[in-house]
């Protein structure tokens, strides 16, 4: 795939941001992730049961459900971070733009380069703000100082935090507030221009004001990126997502347009959860 990308990169108009893979699979243009009959076990615990989900491009897909329902596990399967836990087994398939990411030929590093992730707790590196953003480009072999400067600026602008931080680029990222740290982490994910951004309860450790800023940011980012967001906060899902999946006990109970889910759910359990009867 890389070879093709390289060749195409020389021929195709460089302003087209879309990845090459997408052009090859035009017939699935709208679907980024197609999950089919996914099962996942942690040792003997059956954490995900027969998941079927289609995730669409340049939309915000929210994943809701009570704690322990498998929503975090699912999102971490999408960039195979779930493998950091020893003893994980999967069956079924998840195709990302036509390639099965659970297959043996998929290099996780390549996948994760295309699929960025933002975590529950802001996790900047104990480095300067600049180095935090430059980390991704650097590990992928970008050494040019001027180019790195541009990437840093562009990424911070993309996360709407440039104005706050432009004079503090050499300060340690730990000096930032929690909300700023999280937006820095989003900027860090943007630095390598992924196609998809996974967000695992990105606002759960933040105050309401910072939460609002992140939500606004997500609305902006959706123009260029496909976003999949796990959230424990149903209002948040209702406010910012286009589609919502409701997970319960490792199964997808319902997956539909957000409006439909929150106004007229077809499953009784979804209704119970949304109206706050459990979870």
């Amino acid at each position: 795939m890389g070879v093709i990308a390289n060749k195409m990169g020389l021929q195709v108009n460089p302003t087209a941001k879309e990845s090459i893979a997408k052009k090859i699979n035009t017939q699935k243009n709208n679907i980024v992730y197609d999950t089919k009959e996914l099962n996942l076990w942690y040792g003997h615990t059956h954490a995900l049961k027969n998941i079927n989900l289609e995730i669409h491009e340049k939309e915000v897909t929210a994943i809701i459900g009570p704690s322990g329902c498998g929503k975090s596990t699912y999102i971490k399967t999408l960039n195979r971070m779930v493998e950091l836990v020893p003893g994980v087994r999967t069956t079924g398939s998840i195709s990302y733009k036509g390639n099965n990411i659970l297959g043996k030929t998929m290099k996780v590093e390549d996948l994760r380069t295309k699929v960025g992730m933002v975590f529950q707790k802001p996790n900047p590196f104990p480095k300067s703000i600049y180095e935090n953003i430059a980390y991704g480009p650097k590990i992928h072999g970008i050494r040019n100082k001027k180019l790195l400067d541009q990437i840093v600026e562009r990424s911070l602008r993309g996360a709407y935090i440039w104005d706050e931080l432009k004079d503090r680029l050499n300060e340690n990222a730990f000096g930032l507030s929690g909300g700023q740290q999280q937006r820095l982490c989003i900027a860090r994910a943007l630095a390598i221009q992924p196609d998809v951004i996974l967000m695992d309860e990105p606002t759960s450790a933040l105050d309401p004001k910072s939460t609002l800023k992140i939500e606004e940011l997500v609305q902006e980012l959706k123009k260029d990126y496909s976003i999949i967001m796990v959230t424990h906060n149903m209002q948040q899902a209702a406010r910012i997502s286009d589609r919502t999946a409701f997970f319960l006990n490792g199964e997808v109970v319902e997956f539909d347009n957000t409006n439909k889910i929150f106004s007229n759910p077809s499953d009784k359990r979804t209704e119970d959860y949304i109206s706050g009867r459990f979870g």
């Binding site: 990169g9 460089p14 380069t113 480009p137 072999g141 040019n144 180019l147």
Partner: protein, 317 residues
């Protein structure tokens, strides 16, 4: 440079640059592939060390046991390596080792444990923060310095009170070794005692028990295996200690229980023979390996025993 001007005009295409870089990163792929092997080889050096020790001790000790029957060595009460008719009995050395260890533990055991009680149960956080690092200094002083102290200060001091004590004797190094081991026992016992849950203490204190009663009836029984483990490690340390006894206890190979006399420990014997004129290949030379393997087995058993006890202890709460 051309690339930069390009990206300045257009938007930056990081993802494409990255895709191109991925083609070139053969070197780092190679690194990624070989690193685990390299690290594994480094880790196996520790295993090689153990094998090296076993090989060294066994191969040379076998040479010794060709000349001296193993039974005679372990039951012989006479050690005269340099005599016309040399005799190689290890018992005088084991005797010297055990006596110096016993003296050391008589000092380090009670004082170490009482220090642990003070630090864990009585001392305020402020006092603890001053006393603990000071005790750690004691643990960080090289043993050669303790040897010097035993030989040039403690022995003359003892002799000024009891003139019949020899210029080299087992008592003085035993006592100094005890001081050296205090911090080890104090800190390990303290760890065991502080890990006793506070709820247990509170249960006792709430019934009107004093701190002393709580310490002896609740905390120490609960931390008992940890305390025992610290004593066993202290004993192992005393058995393996070399310089203090080498300097201050002399090299008499008499089988005696008189602590005012010079006695030789296993470790001191090894220093004497290795540093002496004994040529490689002689029975005397090989004898130090036979002594060393005995020492090695002694300390290994102690360490395994201590680990066994403290592992059991971990399951208690």
């Amino acid at each position: 440079m051309q690339k930069i001007s390009e990206v300045k005009q257009e938007a930056i295409h990081v993802s494409e640059i990255i895709a191109q870089n991925k083609q070139k990163k053969n070197v780092s792929n190679l690194v990624e592939k070989w690193i685990p092997t390299i690290l594994f080889l480094l880790a196996s050096i520790t295993i090689l060390t153990t094998l090296g020790i076993l090989y060294t001790l066994l191969s040379q000790a076998i040479q010794f046991f060709r000349a001296v029957p193993i039974w005679e060595f372990f039951t012989g009460a006479v050690l005269k390596p340099l005599s016309q008719n040399p005799e190689f009995g290890i018992l005088p050395l084991i005797n010297g080792t055990l006596i110096s260890t016993a003296i050391a533990m008589l000092v380090a055991g009670p004082i170490g444990l009482m220090s642990a009680i003070y630090l864990s149960e009585y001392a305020s956080e402020k006092v603890r923060r001053v006393l603990k690092p000071l005790l750690e200094i004691l643990a960080g002083i090289p043993t050669i310095v303790y040897g010097f102290f035993a030989f040039t200060f403690v022995t003359p001091l003892i002799r000024s009170i009891f003139p019949e004590v020899g210029a080299t004797n087992i008592l003085s190094p035993g006592l100094v070794m005890g001081v050296m081991i205090i911090p080890m026992i104090a800190s390990l016992s303290e760890d065991a005692m502080t890990s006793v849950p506070n709820a247990m203490r509170e249960g006792s204190l709430a019934m009107g028990a004093t701190k002393l009663e709580t310490t002896f009836k609740v905390v120490i029984p609960a931390a008992f295996s940890g305390i025992i483990a610290s004593f066993v490690l202290g004993i192992s340390r005393a058995i393996g200690e070399t310089m203090i006894v080498t300097i201050a206890s002399g090299s008499s190979k008499n089988f005696t229980f008189d602590i005012t006399q010079s006695m030789q420990t296993m470790t001191a014997y090894i220093v004497e023979v290795a540093g002496g004129e004994a040529a490689a290949g002689t029975t005397i030379y090989y004898s130090l390996y036979a002594v060393a393997i005995t020492l090695f087995v002694f300390t290994l058993l102690m360490n395994l025993f201590a680990r066994y006890i403290s592992r059991k202890f971990r399951e208690e709460y």
